[in-house]
Symmetry: D2
Subunit: 340 residues, 4 copies
């Protein structure tokens, strides 16, 4: 059985383990006050801005909830696509911190900016606005839950929308490397930094063991941020292990190299399905989605593990690649697809 | 400079990294549904009870806040010693989940059981009790913040107290291994399981990279526990890495062996201070506390790093050992102490 | 200018002020331990069940948030119609207590029971259910936000649904009197008690100054309820004033008498609009909704105040009656409608 | 049986009921957009500052929790005396909003300013400060829980302390009228406004039915305040009833006149106890506290109701007066005291 369920089925990139081993007996201060954490932050600032505040946090849901909880006052809400990760897959972590998620429809997995604008405009003009939560942030992910990516133009439009209404833009980059390396991408890490108030460089799903690197651009959101990390239990005593990971992934572009390969494999899988005239979602990153019949799903399940969910008469099925995907796995899958 | 600040200055036990490397390319399901996590849980159940629910969680503050938040209803409070970790060192993580900590004095770092009983009895009889938070849990740590340990008799008394008032007993075992191996200890892991409603086996401070293993005995607290882990961002996608660690530490008693050695080193440091007639806290675990003069602190700081805090005319100074402490470090420190 | 905006434009029923005056100098204990509060609870139990726990709470949003916060554990969510008051008009009060609202579509203002069942069934079978909030309560209001009412059959179906999935049914009765007296109604206060886990008898919008009377049937939800009222600031020191109001409204059926009159006025307004072939919502309670043109709205605004909101090419306009509506007001309005 | 338990045993001042009756049938907009609420706010601004934001809120615990919750970010804490109302008598309402209360000792019921300064200074210099909650507000009440009052000098010192550390000063004035009229008082309403960031004028315990009037001076805390009132369920639909009360109490100094009388009665009770050489707390407001023997308590309980609590060998007993205290009650009590 070969797993294409997600990008976290194997461990982490071997170079990370190697660096951990190499530095294991060196004594460092705890809680992120160590060589690796500082070096990782330095590298990240070089790729974005010398003014970026960089924080390494133990996980994605953690990062989302801390970023949102720390930025919003009690009556403020975050706008997300109906399909957003915080809305759908985090056990109401955001609400558990006291904040409402206001959902708007998605188009190709991306927030419908016109609907977001309507929501903001309506709330602004509502004579009884204090009877409703006040939108103060837009949350998006790059790439989206269905593997699509925002163009630079789209991000600039979102930035403009946020500026028009005085709200924050927060970008969840749990799978950021795959977006950066997508053949359709025109958005750099620096662009993301400049266009958002805060965003993060995903670790877990991009080859790390765990952890995400959050960048804060908006000065208002920088103050006291470490308190929030600690209060929510996301500050590791042995913070060095987060440092080692981002240091290893980012110092020589390992982060993007491995994503590039994963994207290539993903696209070759996509091509195989398309060759069979199977409908797919227009993703150019490591997550590929196909509308399969029950028969196809059953056939593929003989040798492969993947996620699928009934949608109308089809099963929307997800195949993911990662740094760990072997060419051999991909070839076997393509071979099987041809037999469908 | 040699660090005796804490037990998390080095990385993790090398056997953990070895096991991570060994299993790195094996594909497992995410979120704890993997061989290692299951095997670790099995081993833990063998050491305690087949009925124990075992959950691997990414950190100590996380485990404390999730255990408390999931167990208490909104009006319920947790009783802690004034010196308890949740009261003093977790940025109000417990309060951030909506619950008050009711503090009682500590004796030798341990909660004053008579004062706890008085508090419970007073609240029970208070005609206006609904104007105060309702105590529903006692939180202790084994060992305590100052390295002392509860005897089996003391834990049985606490259990009785909790039963008398229908409340939970929660034991924070962030440094559990050092308690288990203390020469003064008469409490087994199984005892802890049986005498508490939930307790955890510390990883981070006992040789792991990160993570704690929570055991739930009370059936009321078992239901839906994984939702709470996820909601608070403590469920790692690559849960296998938590599994590997507890598997490695617990399958052959590595967990306690390394603690035993650390305790021995700690006691030899203590002896060196005592030989100089320096007042110490009566700890038999890996944390040792001494009342030093400013002069002594300065002298020791020439070669060693450690924590200290002014208390009256002295500086209460902490020296910690761990799995990673080298005999050479200890000898150098003892040598220096002799020169004080 | 005559106000038809809502049912809280005037003060409270004069008999309430009279009873307040009459008892004003009598000394009572505070916080609801007084003659009137006890007597009101007794009367309510006579109308429903001797086992009902009755609590007088200072407001509707308060009652909703306390009922929901006290009943749910942190990972649990409440299901509401998209148009539900807690979803739309309470500044995310529910989310501010940590809980997600899961919305389903409404049919005639009433929750679509089949969609609610689908949601519950899907969550139950979801292999990754702990990544989503767990639905544990259905919230409805009787009458609904658009004045429609649930039939006894519909409430029994909802009860069955809740029992099938082991969840609570909570009925917001902020405008309950108008439902009880609707010519289409077949649901008694006793029915509501028996079919829900908790529900409340609205005061503010039904002739009182402020306050709602919450009834708890489910024993699990009764324990320690007064702590929750106090913790959320809804326990008045001079609780007698809540007691006086419900005593006065309920002892001789004043509560329903005044609603009956209000409903009659509402229906005569409806008839006037219908006579002009104006589309309305099929409400038989004190709130009436009409689809008016901009021209009609402007014409009516010359003499009357009411709520309206653009919906497509029309303005959905609300006219409310109450205990305080004068025949003279209604006649003037009908006269004006005829001129449209 | 005559009640001296508290200042909320009778209803409200009759002039309030009279004004309610007079205006009862006038139609006003809801939620505080009415003549009375606006007029009350205007009067309060005249007594303090044209820049004051004034909000009428349904109760004292409500006002405390909303003021604190709205002002603090998640990692921030409020400093209170160990005997503070928010610490002792509000069912952890503050913690339920996510914030820790940091307690310091009280001297004569007033926060020990030196200890508060020590706490602030220690936290500021703590190298691991992010492991602790960050103090951001001082909460006091005027008068205190034991009836003592802060002098203008003491309030100026507290203001200075707050300015030195960049934190807020919040004054709970639940019994403010009694402080204003105390023979020892040198603090005006205007002083309180100018020296605090927010404070409130108590209604419930000062002759109103319910409600408190919060004044916000600090511009940072003014923004969006009505959202917080609504979110926490403290915004009455019939807000006019809060307006009427503060209008009536404040337009002609009824508020302070009735307090003056209550204070006089309180002091004559105190004198009677002092004449019997009974130890008392040095209060010059409407709450008087005496150290009575069990025998005395029993004797007094024959004819009077009051609060008492064992403290060492004595019973600390509280006698309160209010607008409603009759001379006849006081005379009877004094007569009885003489017989002790």
């Amino acid at each position: 059985m070969i797993f294409f369920d997600s990008d976290y089925q194997e461990g982490c990139h071997p170079l990370i383990l190697k660096e951990m081993e190499k530095s294991n007996m060196i004594q460092y201060h705890g809680y992120g006050d160590d060589f690796y954490t500082k070096e990782a932050a330095k590298i990240i600032r070089e790729k974005t801005s010398p003014n970026a505040d960089v924080h390494l946090i133990s996980g994605g849901t953690q990062t989302n909830l801390i970023a949102i909880k720390s930025a919003l006052r009690p009556h403020e809400a975050v706008i997300s696509a109906t399909s957003g990760h915080i809305e759908v897959n985090e056990t109401a972590a955001v609400e558990s911190t006291g904040h409402k998620i206001l959902t708007v429809d998605a188009i190709d997995g991306k927030i419908d900016i016109e609907k977001a604008r309507d929501l903001l405009e309506n709330r602004k003009n509502d004579p009884r606005k204090e009877h409703k939560a006040k939108p103060k942030m837009i949350y998006i992910s790059q790439p989206t839950e269905i593997g699509t990516i925002y163009s630079k133009k789209e991000l600039m439009d979102l930035r403009k929308l946020c500026d028009d209404y005085g709200i924050y833009l927060f970008v969840d980059g749990a799978r950021l490397s795959y977006a950066l390396e997508s053949i359709k991408n025109d958005v750099s890490m620096k662009d993301l930094y400049e266009l958002s108030d805060l965003f993060y460089i995903g670790g877990t799903k991009c080859g790390a063991m765990m952890g995400e690197a959050l960048l804060i651009r908006n000065d208002l959101l920088k103050e006291d941020f470490r308190y929030h990390i600690k209060q929510n239990g996301a500050m590791l005593a042995k913070g060095r292990f987060l440092g080692v990971q981002f240091y290893t992934l980012l110092k020589d572009d390992l982060y993007t190299e491995i994503a590039k390969k994963a994207n290539e494999y993903a696209l070759s899988i996509r091509k195989a399905f398309e060759d069979k005239n199977i409908k797919c979602i227009d993703s150019y990153t490591n997550q590929q989605f196909f509308y399969l019949t029950k028969e196809m799903v059953d056939k593929l399940l003989e040798d492969f593990s993947f996620e699928y969910e009934k949608e109308g008469e089809y099963y929307l099925s997800r195949f993911c690649t990662s740094w760990a995907t072997k060419e051999e796995y991909v070839n076997k899958l393509i071979h099987k697809i041809k037999e469908l």
